[in-house]
Amino acid sequence: MTEKELAQKSNQYRQRILKYIVGANAGHTGGSLSCIDILNVLYNQVLNVSPQNFTSPDRDRYIQSKGHCVEALFVVLADKGFFPEEDLNTLCRYKSHYIGHPTRKVHGVEQNTGALGHGLPISVGTALAAKMDEKDYRVFTLLGDGELPEGSNWEAALTAAHYGLDNLCAIIDKNSLQITGPTSDVCNTDPIDEKFASFGWAVKHVDGHDLQALKDSFASLPLEKGKPSVIIAHTVKGKGISFMENQLSWHHGVPSQEQYQLAIEELNQAII
């Protein structure tokens, strides 16, 4: 996939995220838009996972700890052929499996998440199993910066370093906003890098919307042999839609029809 094609994917994914959130009249708009470039690069450039190999014990694992940004995951999984995209018309509808958080009822989802602070411990266990079985698969987990105060993350961070899980990569979607306000005001977790480094992790910062930089970061894994890696992706909540960017109200705001049209227009204009 060329650089341009990859960028176009991000643009399409953003359009689809908005489409299905508007259709469902629910969703986590800002966070889905902040993490979508990360998911784009992971699923299109990094992960050895597809509908065909999804039951293989050797596949790479992606576990989305920030489960509420499920719309980003669903549009990518649909694009990768895990299920027909039109299934997403049932998002959050009665009896639909396409609910507001990832569940294994949806083909391509590894773990049921939604409660925060769960993705990292599960990922540690999965990465540990790979080491035990001497398998080459890798485990990636996406966390929001707002979920870092959950103590279970830090328990798991200790275990990952203790067992030298260099097949594990945590990505922090650091959009610096959470439902109450700026993450630094709610419960300051900075400096995240120093915290993870002191827990025994190898740390890298990246612009979470720079597709090439993301590719390069993932290509350099493990950041250090014998250590788990954390990539701190600096992102913008609501990225790509000017009136949503860095606006708290878009944490789970749903666009009106008019706002939706404006957003789609802006995205169409952004396609080079």
Partner: protein
């Protein structure tokens, strides 16, 4: 029974010891058997296991939420994972991980609650697990088991290892004699075991309370000519409602017995089934009342609350005397 681990009545061991011996036996044949511990290998009797199979034990340290999350990850990758931690911490501290990472995500972890109930009697309420049946019964896709004796424990562990079902199993530290040496009295999850048959009343007990219930039944027969049925209802969920229905029809009164709060455990599970199915005979729930729990040894606490040969016999006589 031809069992390599369980000995006869005279060789009674703690169920916890039988658990660790059985797990070690399984680990010998299957390298996917993994024990995950939270600084609990000593209290879980897993020190020999760890020495013999160091690659099959994962030490987490004192971090129960992480213990369960990591166990879920291991299980999802095909490991036959036993997450071992004191029942009091495992089922309270890590309740959300049990609910989401194990039960909801359907990761086939076997959660092993050690030193359950009031096994740590003198250590106080922080170390008692009198809430676990209640909390876990309300979680979908979780089998809840309290084996009564060494035979049930060994069978439960073997069958759990072969099962893809998320489960919680709890054990105590007290030496438990075999309830029966009848080789035809087998063990199956979800099927209560009839230990003794009698027409007058039934003790439906679970875990380490089946033994005092059996002793009480013997006393009632010897001293009062009252014939009691004794059921080991080792599986709290799913409850063996077929057996419960049969017992309700065959006897004149039911007494449930458990090392758990009288709220939300075996007793209330039986009561809700029976009420919904028209039962109108005498019924009594024996367990730990909803109060600041007395401390002492497990036996002293059992005696205090009537979970003993004499205590249960008295409760039975009073219940049978009661107007219906």
């Amino acid at each position: 029974m031809g069992s390599p681990v369980v000995e006869s009545k005279t060789g009674a061991k703690a169920n916890l010891e039988v658990f660790s011996a059985t797990l070690q036996e399984l680990a010998e044949q299957d390298r996917d058997i993994i024990a995950v511990t939270s600084d609990s290998r000593g209290s879980g009797k897993l020190v020999p296991f760890g020495k013999k199979y160091p690659k099959q034990i994962v030490e987490i340290g004192i971090a129960e939420q992480n213990l369960v999350g990591v166990a879920a990850g291991l299980a999802s990758a095909g490991k036959k994972t036993f997450a071992v931690s004191p029942a009091c911490f495992l089922t309270a501290r890590a309740l959300e991980q049990i609910k989401n990472d194990v039960a909801y995500s359907d990761n086939p972890v076997k959660l092993i609650g050690i030193s359950a109930g009031v096994s740590y009697g003198a250590l106080g309420s922080t170390h008692h697990s009198l809430h676990d049946f209640a909390a876990l019964r309300a979680i979908n896709n979780l089998v809840v088991v309290a084996p009564a004796d060494n035979f049930e424990t060994e069978e439960a562990i073997k069958q759990a290892a072969a099962s893809k079902q998320p489960m919680y199993l709890r054990f105590g530290k007290k030496n438990m004699p075999l309830l029966t040496e009848d080789p035809n009295n087998t063990f199956e999850f979800g099927k209560g075991r009839i230990i003794l048959k009698g027409k007058d009343l039934a003790f439906i007990a679970t875990g380490e309370t089946v033994q005092p219930a059996l002793e009480a039944a013997e006393k009632l027969k010897d001293e009062y000519n009252i014939e009691a049925t004794v059921i080991s209802m080792h599986t709290i969920k799913p409850l063996d409602t077929q057996l419960l229905q049969q017992i309700a029809e065959e006897t004149e009164a039911i007494i449930t017995v458990e090392e758990h709060s009288v709220y939300g455990g075996l007793g209330e599970a039986c009561a809700s089934y029976l009420l919904e199915h028209g039962y109108n005979k005498r019924f009594k729930i024996v367990g730990i009342p909803d109060e600041y729990t007395v401390t002492g040894s497990q036996t002293e606490i059992f005696n205090h609350y009537g979970i003993s040969k004499d205590g249960l016999a008295t409760i039975a006589i009073n219940l049978l005397r009661k107007e219906r």
